[in-house]
C-alpha cells in the first residue's frame, strides 16, 4: 500500500468515526429524553422510586417489574 493510499484510508476512517459519533450523539440524546419522560411518568428517578417503594411498602408488583426492566434495558 502506497503512502497516498494509506493517508486516504486514514482520512476516510477519521470521517467515518466523526460522522458515526455525531449520529450516535443525536441518538443518545433522544434516548436520554425518552428515559427521562418514562421516569417522570413514574414519579421520580429509578433508584429513588425503588427505595421509596421498598421503604414505604406502597409499590405494586407492576411498579417493581417496570423498574427492573428499565434498569436492565437502559
Amino acid at each position: 500500500m502506497s503512502t497516498d493510499q494509506l493517508l486516504t484510508l486514514m482520512a476516510y476512517l477519521i470521517v467515518a468515526i466523526t460522522a458515526a459519533t455525531m449520529i450516535f450523539g443525536v441518538v443518545a440524546y433522544f434516548l436520554y429524553k425518552i428515559r427521562e419522560k418514562r421516569r417522570a411518568k413514574t414519579g421520580s428517578s429509578g433508584a429513588e422510586n425503588a427505595k421509596e417503594i421498598e421503604k414505604k411498602g406502597t409499590g405494586t408488583p407492576q411498579n417493581m417489574r417496570y423498574f427492573v426492566r428499565r434498569r436492565i434495558t437502559l
Partner: protein, 433 residues
C-alpha cells in the same frame, strides 16, 4: 511556567503546516475544495486561538500566584469558617463525605448539614454523627424539600463563619482546602474562591474522559479566568465565599438550574473578584453511563444559559461594568456559538473531504491536532495532581467525546429557547467517594 514549553513543538508544527496549507490554497483548485480547505484553516485557527488564550492566561496566573505568594498565615490569622453541606437522598455517601470534612486540617470550623427533605435515611445517618468540641462542630438540620439553593440559604442563616465553604454531599475535599483558600479573602475585593474538581471514579471510558475534561477543560479555564479574578462558575463541589458578600446580594437564587453560576455572576455584578485555588481539591463522582452524563450536561447547559440570560441587561454594559459584560459575552460564546460552530465546521469538513480530493490534508490536520491535544494534556496533568494515564484519553477526546457533548449542548440550547419544561434531575450515585 517552564512546563508550558511542552506545547512549543506542537505549536511550531501547527504554524508550519498552516503556512503550507495557505500556499496550497492560493495555488488554486476548484471552489468547493478551496471552501473546504479554508473552513479547516479558519476552524483550526479558532481552536488554536481559544486553546492558546486559555493556556497563556493559565500560565500567567500560575506565575502571578508564585510571585505574590506570602508566608503561610499563623493559626490566629485564619478566620472561623463554616462548611455547608446541602443534601438530598445521599444516605449512601453522606457518612464518608462527613468523615472527610471532619479530617480537614484547620484550626476552627463548623460543619452544617442541611437535609433538603430526603426520603431516605440521610438525616438519620448524618444526625448520628453530630458533635461539638472546642474548635469544631457538626450540626444537622432537616427542612422540607425546596431545592439546593434553598438548602444553602438555610445553612447560611445558621452559619457563624465570616467565610463559608459550600460543598456537595457526594464529594470529598482535600484536608488542606480551607488553609489554601482562606488567605485569598485578606483582599477585601475577593468575594469567592473556586477550587479544583477531580473525578474519583475513573473506572470506564466515560469517567476517564470526564476526568480529562475536568482538568483540560474546566480547571484550565478557571485558571485562565482567575488571572483577571473573573472565574465564571464557582463549582458546587468546592467553593469558598465571603458570607457578608453573599448575604448582601440576597444569597442563592432558585430561579435557574445553575445556582452556583448565578451566584458567581451576581457577585461579579456587585463588584467582587472571583479567584481560583488550583490545589484545593474536591473529589467527586462523575456520571458512569452516557445517558447520565447527558442528563448532567443538559442541566449544566440550560442552567448556564438561564444564568447568563438573566444578566443579559449587562451584555452592553461595556463602560459601567466591563468585567461582567466581557464575561457574559464569553459565556454565550462558549455555551451557544462554539458548540454550534464546531458541529457545523465538522459536518462541512466531512462533506468536502468526501466529495473533493482533500482527504489527505484532513489527516495531516488531525495528526497535528492530536499532537497539540496530547501536549496540552501533559501540561494540564503536570500542573495538577491528576494521573498521567489520562493523557492517553486525549486521542479519543476530540474525535469522539467532545462531538457528543457539543451535540447535547446544541439540542439543550434549542430546548431552552423553545421553553421546554425541565426538572432538576438528580443523578444516581454509586457511592464511590
Amino acid at each position: 511556567m517552564a512546563k508550558g514549553l511542552i506545547l512549543l513543538p506542537a505549536l511550531c508544527l501547527l504554524v508550519y503546516y498552516g503556512a503550507k496549507h495557505i500556499t496550497e490554497i492560493s495555488a488554486g483548485s476548484d471552489p468547493l475544495t478551496k471552501a473546504g480547505a479554508l473552513t479547516i484553516l479558519i476552524f483550526s485557527a479558532l481552536v488554536v486561538s481559544r486553546y492558546l488564550f486559555l493556556l497563556l492566561f493559565s500560565m500567567l496566573n500560575l506565575l502571578a500566584n508564585i510571585l505574590r505568594k506570602e508566608p503561610a498565615p499563623s493559626q490566629h490569622d485564619l478566620p472561623f469558617v463554616s462548611v455547608l453541606v446541602p443534601c438530598y437522598n445521599e444516605e449512601g455517601v453522606i457518612e464518608r463525605s462527613l468523615e472527610s470534612l471532619m479530617t480537614i486540617d484547620y484550626p476552627s470550623y463548623e460543619i452544617i448539614v442541611v437535609d433538603d427533605g430526603s426520603v431516605d435515611d440521610t438525616y438519620a445517618v448524618a444526625k448520628a454523627m453530630e458533635f461539638n468540641d472546642e474548635n469544631r462542630s457538626l450540626r444537622v438540620f432537616k427542612k422540607p424539600n425546596a431545592g439546593k439553593a434553598s438548602a444553602l440559604n438555610y445553612a447560611i442563616e445558621r452559619s457563624r463563619g465570616e467565610l463559608f465553604l459550600a460543598v456537595d454531599a457526594d464529594s470529598r475535599v482535600s484536608p488542606d482546602s480551607l488553609r489554601l483558600m482562606a488567605p485569598y479573602f485578606k483582599d477585601g475585593r475577593v468575594g469567592a474562591v473556586a477550587g479544583s474538581v477531580y473525578v474519583v471514579n475513573t473506572n470506564n471510558i466515560w469517567t476517564n474522559l470526564q476526568a480529562l475534561e475536568y482538568i483540560q477543560g474546566l480547571n484550565l479555564v478557571r485558571n485562565g479566568q482567575a488571572f483577571f479574578r473573573l472565574v465564571n462558575i464557582v463549582p458546587g463541589p468546592i467553593g469558598m465565599f465571603r458570607t457578608e458578600a453573599v448575604e448582601s446580594i440576597g444569597g442563592y437564587s432558585d430561579d435557574t438550574f445553575a445556582e452556583d453560576c448565578d451566584l458567581t455572576l451576581r457577585l461579579i455584578e456587585a463588584g467582587y473578584g472571583i479567584d481560583y485555588e488550583i490545589d484545593a481539591v474536591s473529589y467527586t463522582e462523575a456520571p458512569e453511563s452516557l445517558l447520565d452524563l447527558l442528563k448532567q450536561r443538559y442541566r449544566w447547559t440550560r442552567g448556564i444559559l438561564q444564568s447568563s440570560l438573566k444578566h443579559r441587561g449587562k451584555l452592553l454594559a461595556v463602560v459601567s461594568n466591563p468585567k461582567l459584560s466581557l464575561l457574559l459575552w464569553y459565556m454565550l460564546f462558549e455555551a451557544i456559538l462554539w458548540p454550534a460552530v464546531s458541529i457545523a465546521a465538522n459536518l462541512f469538513i466531512l462533506f468536502t473531504s468526501l466529495v473533493t480530493g482533500m482527504a489527505q490534508m484532513l489527516v495531516y490536520w488531525w495528526i497535528i491536532f492530536t499532537i497539540l491535544d496530547i501536549s496540552a494534556g501533559i501540561y494540564c496533568v503536570s500542573v495538577t495532581k491528576e494521573r498521567i494515564r489520562l493523557v492517553f484519553y486525549t486521542i479519543y477526546y476530540r474525535i469522539f467525546f467532545i462531538n457528543i457533548i457539543n451535540i447535547a449542548k446544541v439540542l439543550a440550547t434549542a430546548e431552552e429557547f423553545f421553553g421546554v419544561e425541565m426538572s432538576w434531575g438528580k443523578l444516581e450515585r454509586k457511592g464511590r467517594i
